[in-house]
Symmetry: C2
């Protein structure tokens, strides 16, 4: 993807990445995104669930009327961040984090076509837990109407990635200070049965061996 | 904290929380935040590191000139999200996530006073790894000048929290579908030595037994 003047990573530009495969992999791995929109000159950032289908990002979650109103046909920003490590350098100035993030800009489009809405709903469910769509009850027509899904074309986006060791000033390598990385991971525990679960129903394997 | 018309949680309002202790605890636990700002009518959402000192949120990270310019004396939004679980309901419509989030609105103020800047820098370092400030080399005057720190007064904010089991439609409890929660946690691995670490330097205990 060609970087635009809006998505080109300017500071520490060697961390910028624009190839679609990198951008898509980060979007697909992240469980949630943060959506930015403007309402009455005030920017808002709201966490929500997303899914990618080809060139479309679909957003679901808590479409408070304010968010929905401010996203529909308006400029928005969808950002996902995967935190991979705490980078402790020999100086605080060079301490950092290892991460993979994507910033995607576009215009929100409310999905109204029932077929596209159902497809997007499925994508969101499968994004969170692959295998779940065929396990639980599908949305009724009424539920589909009560669900808000926003699409954004993935046409202007960039990734930013930092990996590896701290990069200290040359003279600081002689300091008697530990430096390195504390790895950060996301962990998934054993599924906890709903307190009203009927006896004899076991969790599906996509829950017991959940991973991304 | 009194909710304003901008921070009151409207949808699923029983999930809203406005007491300062709850808001502060979420801000303090989150490793990163997402900052929203507007530049040429386009909202941007950028991940960065933050710290809270009393009623002030301090933002640090990658102050690209665009971000700094668009945050200084401008309306911004700082959002943090802690993901606690994947909530798999008997219907997709009621599937959800357990989370604790804070949305804070305010105006960015560039910190220029060297003393406040140093205090904020220390807060950010300690926010990421308590004990690290006294371990690594402190910023020089030149490094401090090359660092951008933005303050935002914590005066208009709300938390949103979801915990516990799925809440299915009454008739769905009879379905032969597993329902429950997959717990999500953030994990910290054993510290990885920098490849250029001098022999004999051990990681500090705040790195070997890191937790939040």
């Amino acid at each position: 993807m060609e970087p635009t003047h809006r998505t080109r990573v300017k500071r520490l530009h060697e961390r910028g990445a624009y190839d679609l495969a990198t951008i898509e992999a980060i979007l697909d791995e992240a469980l949630i995104c943060h959506v930015g929109f403007v309402h009455e000159d005030q920017p808002y950032v709201i966490p929500t669930i997303h899914a990618r289908l080809g060139d479309n990002l679909y957003l679901h979650g808590s479409p408070a009327s304010r968010m929905l109103r401010s996203i529909r046909d308006q400029p928005i920003c969808v950002t996902v961040t995967l935190l991979d490590g705490l980078v402790l350098a020999r100086s605080h100035f060079h301490s950092s984090m290892n991460y993979r993030s994507v910033v995607a800009l576009g215009t929100g489009r409310e999905v109204t076509d029932p077929e596209e809405k159902m497809t997007a709903f499925e994508a969101v469910v499968e994004h969170v837990a692959r295998g779940q769509w065929d396990t639980a009850r599908r949305p009724t027509e009424k539920e589909l109407k009560a669900t808000s899904i926003i699409a954004m074309e993935l046409s202007e986006a960039s990734a930013k990635i930092r990996t590896g060791d701290p990069e200290d000033d040359e003279e600081d390598y002689e300091l008697e200070v530990w430096a390195g990385v504390i790895p950060v991971t996301i962990g998934f525990g054993s599924p906890l049965d709903d307190s009203r679960l009927s006896p004899g129903i076991e969790p599906p394997t996509h829950a017991t061996s959940y991973r991304r």
